[in-house]
């Protein structure tokens, strides 16, 4: 196995384990109030997704083909509009229905 490639997977694995262990342990111990824990879970999840993209899927702004990055960026915008818009509408509707 190639040294460099092997190191990439092992670093990714170690980071992913840490970013998984932190939220799971905090939830198991109820170490923080729920609202703060939710923030920790969200931050750890976003970081872990970035770790997976970088070390497992080998996304790299310099070496990944431009059109692939474009497709991913476009999808991110699409998801932001559709998920953000849906949640906005449903939360607003929920608020109006329970008035």
């Amino acid at each position: 196995m190639e040294r460099h490639g092997l190191r990439s997977y092992l670093v990714g694995f170690a980071l992913a384990v840490v970013l998984t262990a932190i939220p799971f342990a905090l939830v198991a111990m109820h170490a923080l109030p729920p609202s703060r824990l939710a923030i920790v879970i969200a931050v750890a999840a976003i970081l872990q997704v970035l770790v997976h993209l970088r070390f497992f899927l080998h996304l790299d702004l310099a070496t990944t083909p431009r059109e692939n990055l474009l497709a991913i960026a476009f999808t991110a915008v699409l998801i932001f509009i559709m998920v953000g818009g849906s949640l906005w509408i449903m939360v607003d509707l929920h608020g109006r229905m329970s008035m």
Partner: protein
């Protein structure tokens, strides 16, 4: 890395284009999962007086599933690395390990689903449970398809060896498998952990 012969370069260009096509597929899948997440977030409070995540979810089970999938993602990486150095038996070995870990994940998930359904918390119980089974079930089906694909690719590596097309297919299977682990990060961060707060 050695300089490639011209015709070899054309074929690797073609495989890069297929990788773009596969990325487009993965991104469309990402949109599906994102919308299932949005549906779940909208429905999570609608328990209709039935059980909520707090009584149904097991942190240990979720942690175990997470570890199985994460380790399988890493062992698939080892298979990819072995394919680059042309080590056929190592590729087959790591694919087998990946398959067994993925199978363990699916078994844990099926056991969890069966337990919930037996306890009267099936997908027909409430809006929350419909959304839960749709989201987590869709991911489980993806993993099962991935397992089938791993078997097929193991057969191809065994019968055809690590030819250029086989290695290229193995690469796309790797993209798929790593992508499923990312979807799972979303599931434990949006479904299981917040449900147990």
């Amino acid at each position: 890395m050695t300089v490639m012969a011209p015709e070899r370069k054309t074929s690797s260009d073609a495989y890069e284009q297929r990788a773009l096509g596969f990325w487009l597929y993965l991104m469309s899948d990402a949109v599906i999962f994102a919308l299932l997440f949005a549906t779940y977030a909208t429905m999570v409070a609608n328990t209709d007086g039935g059980p909520s995540g707090k009584t149904l979810f097991s942190l240990t089970n979720a942690a175990l599933e997470t570890m199985l999938l994460l380790v399988s993602s890493t062992t698939f990486g080892f298979a990819s690395l072995s394919s680059r150095t042309g080590n056929r038996s190592a590729v087959l070995g790591w694919l087998l390990v990946t398959f067994l870990l993925g199978l363990g994940f699916v078994c844990l998930e099926i056991r969890e689903f069966m337990g919930m359904i037996r306890a009267g918390a099936g997908p027909d119980r409430s809006g929350f449970l419909s959304a839960f089974f749709t989201l987590v079930g869709t991911h489980g089906v993806h993993v099962s398809v991935g397992l089938t694909w791993i078997l097929i690719m193991s057969g191809q590596v065994f019968l055809k060896g690590l030819s250029v097309p086989v290695t290229s297919r193995l690469f796309r299977l790797g993209l798929f498998w790593h992508f499923l682990d990312i979807a799972w990060v979303g599931i434990f961060s949006i479904v299981y952990l917040p449900g147990l707060l």
